[in-house]
């Protein structure tokens, strides 16, 4: 075989491997989406049906009207959205303040604080659940979305600060100094100079917190008892009934739950990678 032919063959093999990886990754997702649009006679069959020939919106409309546990899926989507957005709004403010502190100032206790952030990310939520459950109960926040928001802020904040810190550090200090020299106050400098430049980082961090809170199961499972306050991950469990599972409905709901995450992921994929392995990956 000539070198040219071999190189061409190598190229074909590489691309074939690429297609294979693509299909392997996407197939289960595709199967979830397509099952949500299949009529029941195509779901409950031992045949493999690659795409819905009896295409139907029946499951989507069913989860939107009847829903699960007596409530439309919109209610659970709304609860999830409230918890996630609440987490993002509170978390973003706190994260920005702390990130500015560690990225802009050298102070005593800075290194211990950074170490604390790393340790905090590792604490398993199972360990926090029991004391948080007791605390939330005592404060009267049990069965309240606010109680859930508070715990989600805690779970997402350490990583939020860790990620945002690199964005603040990337803004040249000279810009702020120029503003000071021009007579701007510290607050004005922060608001008019630093904030707009850090905004993309803030968006990336917020989306990360949003996804984490949106996906979270354990806290939502045990800090909420009232079905009207369920979030999506909790509500989904109720499709696994005693008499058999409503696969069409659960696939339609899972798809609805996945859509916002996919959209956000495509927006900030690169920033999330650099945030997670910050420092280790150069370039």
């Amino acid at each position: 075989m000539s070198p040219l032919a071999r190189r061409r063959l190598g190229k074909v093999a590489l691309n074939a491997a690429g297609v294979l990886v693509f299909l392997g990754a996407i197939f289960p997702v595709y199967f979830m989406v397509s099952t949500g649009f299949k009529a029941n006679d195509q779901i409950f069959t031992t045949e493999f049906i690659p795409f819905p020939t009896h295409f139907t919106f029946e499951h989507i409309t069913r989860v939107l009207t009847d829903g699960v546990a007596g409530h439309s899926i919109w209610l659970y989507m709304r609860n999830s959205a409230i918890v996630s957005l609440g987490t993002v709004l509170i978390g973003a403010v706190f994260a920005l303040l702390s990130a500015t502190a560690v990225a802009r100032f050298r102070f005593k206790g800075r290194t211990p604080f950074l170490a604390l952030l790393l340790v905090a990310q590792m604490i398993p939520s199972e360990a926090l659940l029991i004391p948080l459950f007791l605390g939330v109960k005592r404060l009267g926040l049990y069965d309240q979305l606010l109680g859930l928001i508070v715990t989600q802020v805690a779970l997402t904040l350490p990583f939020g600060i860790w990620m945002l810190r690199t964005f603040v550090a990337a803004v040249p200090k000279s810009l702020e100094e120029a503003a000071w020299i021009d007579g701007a106050s510290r607050f004005t400098t922060f608001w008019k100079v630093l904030f707009p430049l850090v905004a993309p980082g803030l968006v990336a961090t917020s989306i990360f917190s949003f996804i984490t809170a949106w996906n979270e199961l354990i806290m939502a499972l045990y800090l909420i008892n009232d079905p009207t306050k369920y979030t999506m991950p909790v509500a989904l469990q109720y499709f696994f009934g005693q008499k058999g599972t409503d696969w069409g409905a659960i696939m339609a709901s899972s798809t609805m739950m996945t859509i916002p995450v996919v959209v956000f992921f495509l927006l900030v994929q690169r920033r999330m990678v650099s945030g997670l392995v910050a420092g280790a990956v150069k370039g």
Binding site: L14, N15, G18, F22, A25, P28, V29, M32, T45, T46, E47, F94, A95, L97, S98, A101, F107, T111, A115, L118, A120, M122, P124, S125, E126, A127, L128, L129, I130, P131, F133, L134, G135, V150, T151, V153, L157, W180, I181, S185, R186, L217, I218, Y222, P233, M251, S254, M257, T258, V262, F265, V273, S274, L276, V277, G279, A280, V281, K282, G283
Partner: protein, 334 residues
């Protein structure tokens, strides 16, 4: 008020008129300059302290206490029981099977995720621009699926009656299926009844959802390695495996270290996928996360024993974290 303090402070300094920069602390809104980072840190520290560290300490305390229904409702104070929760938990077979499940799962899933992820990362690096983007978007979908939905998908694929895994296994020629697995008929194979097959499905699920992150991170690392190194290796006649061992791996070692630790941490506390795949009734299939939570919240609740199990899990994770933190501090000028 701000005005007066500015005046007072400014007045003291202005007596020796210097460059304008010397005036800067005077505009800090009345706060001495050294205190500003601490003020900025207060909200974050409060949240982390009150909602992460304090509960963590509480958990350790609760693990030495009896906290049942009457204690939760506040009718009776929690009573100290010493090491009783721990000894009871350690005497329970479920604890040991949970520990075994947790460790065996991580020992298999972590290397599989890392190897597959690295291989795909290298593949992405060698593919053309368009093809690479195409594959990245594909794997992004697997990565983006929420953990609960991941569990739902794989539970459906491995469903005994309608799952396509059984359908696909039935497609195999009977002689091959017999030779490989000792059986030809897979109809109704209940994958999600036995602990071992539940964990097999869980491994597939977690590797599938986890490798994209590794791949994209390795790709980011590879982009930072100068192409000349690879060209030189090629000229010297180095094969792909040797090139990986001598160039790629040493240069990306810090990346691999962080990815390994992150994967270990994620896989040790996997919960949502297991919860959907196995439910809470199959005690044989518990891992430590699931055992801690169900023990604490079952009827009647045993928060003390739940906390004891959570302590064990946390200690394991903190040992791993120590390595991670050292790595992060070595890598970066924090």
């Amino acid at each position: 008020m701000t005005n007066t303090s500015t005046l007072a402070r400014g007045g003291g300094r202005a007596s020796t008129p210097g460059p304008r920069r010397a005036n800067r602390p005077a505009r800090a809104g009345g706060l001495p300059a050294w205190s500003i980072p601490y003020v900025l840190l207060i909200p974050g520290l409060l949240v982390i302290g009150a909602l992460l560290l304090w509960p963590l300490i509480q958990m350790v305390i609760i693990s030495f206490q009896k906290v049942g229904l009457v204690q939760i409702s506040g009718k009776k104070p929690a009573t100290w029981v010493g090491l009783e929760n721990f000894t009871k938990v350690f005497e329970n077979d479920i604890f040991w099977s949970s520990l075994r499940n947790t460790v065996v799962f991580a020992v298999i899933a972590v290397p599989l995720t890392l190897i597959l992820g690295t291989a795909v990362g290298i593949l992405l690096h060698r593919l053309g621009k368009k093809m690479s983007l195409f594959v990245i978007i594909g794997i992004m979908f697997a990565w983006a699926v929420p953990p609960v939905a991941q569990g739902v998908i794989w539970r459906w694929l491995f469903d005994a009656e309608r799952g396509i895994i059984n359908w696909a296994l039935n497609l195999l020629p009977d002689w091959l299926s017999n030779a490989l697995f000792g059986r030809a008929d897979w109809t109704g194979q209940p994958w999600l009844n036995d602990a071992w097959s539940i964990y097999m499905v869980l491994i597939i699920c977690v590797v599938w959802a986890g490798f994209p992150f590794i791949a994209v991170s390795v790709l980011a690392g590879l982009k930072g390695i100068p192409a000349e190194l690879y060209e030189a290796a090629k000229v010297d006649g180095s094969g792909p495996w040797r090139t990986f061992r001598k160039i790629t791996f040493p240069l990306l070692k810090p990346v691999f270290a962080v990815l390994t630790v992150l994967s270990i941490i994620w896989d040790f506390k996997v919960f949502a996928q297991l919860y959907v795949l196995a439910g809470t009734t199959n005690r044989e299939a518990y891992n430590l996360s699931m055992y801690a939570v169900t023990e604490a919240f079952k009827a009647p609740p045993k928060m003390g024993s739940g906390a004891a199990i959570a302590v064990v899990l946390t200690v394991i994770l903190l040992i791993v974290t120590a390595a991670y933190i050292r790595q992060m501090f070595k890598q970066e000028e924090l």
